[in-house]
Symmetry: C2
């Protein structure tokens, strides 16, 4: 094979109708409302798993990058909402570290507690804070595997200078998971035994 090798991830077109780059998402709840809307639309429009994330400028509260889970449509097991949001943020800003000296601090908001991979990616992104909706246990309750994380994963992030706020709009984030389950959404696992709920 001599063709160019690579991969790409493209957000569903409907994201542009929901994600407003001109608006200031002032509060933690405002930010999580967007993330939950991304997750809910991804679930109900059948464009991926029931997970949303977004990166915001922590000072202007402007949206930098939205993300949704694209694992199945992109045939990419790494295309979790957080990874997608981080990658799009880097692409839009043209830098790989949002925490560059002189840059505004930034916030990663995610509808569900990050899995082991996304937890590992969070420090690499350079964000200064993390907002989490639903808990790990909420995702596991409908069959998703979150992987093996350090016991004190919050302490790992805070020890690296990343503040963590849990349970931001948790009920709304759990409602997305419940909706996905009720719609018969595909629950993929890492052990090769996929289950259709």
């Amino acid at each position: 094979m001599t063709s160019v090798l690579g991969f790409s991830c493209t957000l569903p077109a409907w994201v542009s109708d929901i994600a407003d780059f001109e608006r200031a998402y002032e509060t933690d709840s405002d930010k999580m409302d967007l993330v939950i809307a991304l997750a809910m639309n991804n679930a109900t429009r059948n464009t991926g798993g029931p997970f949303g994330a977004a990166i915001f400028d922590a000072e202007s509260h402007r949206l930098i990058a939205p993300g949704v889970n694209l694992v199945v449509p992109a045939s990419n097991p790494t295309a979790h909402a957080e990874i997608v949001a981080i990658a799009i943020a880097g692409s839009r800003l043209g830098r790989y570290d949002l925490g560059d000296e002189g840059a505004s601090p930034s916030v990663l908001a995610t509808s569900v507690e990050p899995c082991a991979m996304c937890l590992g990616a969070t420090p690499w992104s350079g964000v200064s804070s993390l907002l989490v909706g639903a808990r790990d246990a909420d995702a596991r309750a409908i069959g998703f595997d979150e992987g093996t994380k350090p016991d004190d994963w919050v302490g790992v992030l805070t020890g690296r200078g990343i503040s963590v706020t849990l349970d931001v709009q948790r009920e709304g984030a759990v409602a997305v998971l419940d909706t996905y389950l009720a719609l018969g959404g595909h629950i993929y696992n890492a052990d090769g035994e996929d289950n259709d709920a």
Copy 2:
């Protein structure tokens, strides 16, 4: 913004000159030789960090997907060699789980012990085994941050049915890191304090 949002990663063109999709990479050493060559070329050709990875069919020993670190050129902090190889494998095969029922088992070979993010991604990929060249300590020795992993990370993977072989061609993999350092390669860190070695 109403334009389409997304991101893409493209391997450097030279990868197609090195990665042979027709060859059987029979042994662990054969597989690691390719991965080290990918890492070394990425370092010396200045197309990314000194890390390579590849996914192989464990039965035919054919290459499924090569990967190199593209963090800086792609402005994407998640574009580690393992993530890139996993994403390309999914894209080439058109499925998000290499461990699908009925599929051949597959091997992920990486020139350096996976960081916290790539460790978390490994079970999601569906590979059945992991070959590792240099150790975590070797990467840290030249200033790269590997993140916080579970203490018994090998046990985490084996507990999920993924066999792990360490120190495959470790010297050759370390030589890539040393070469990168000697060439003055950019060492990026997560704390925003980038150091040019």
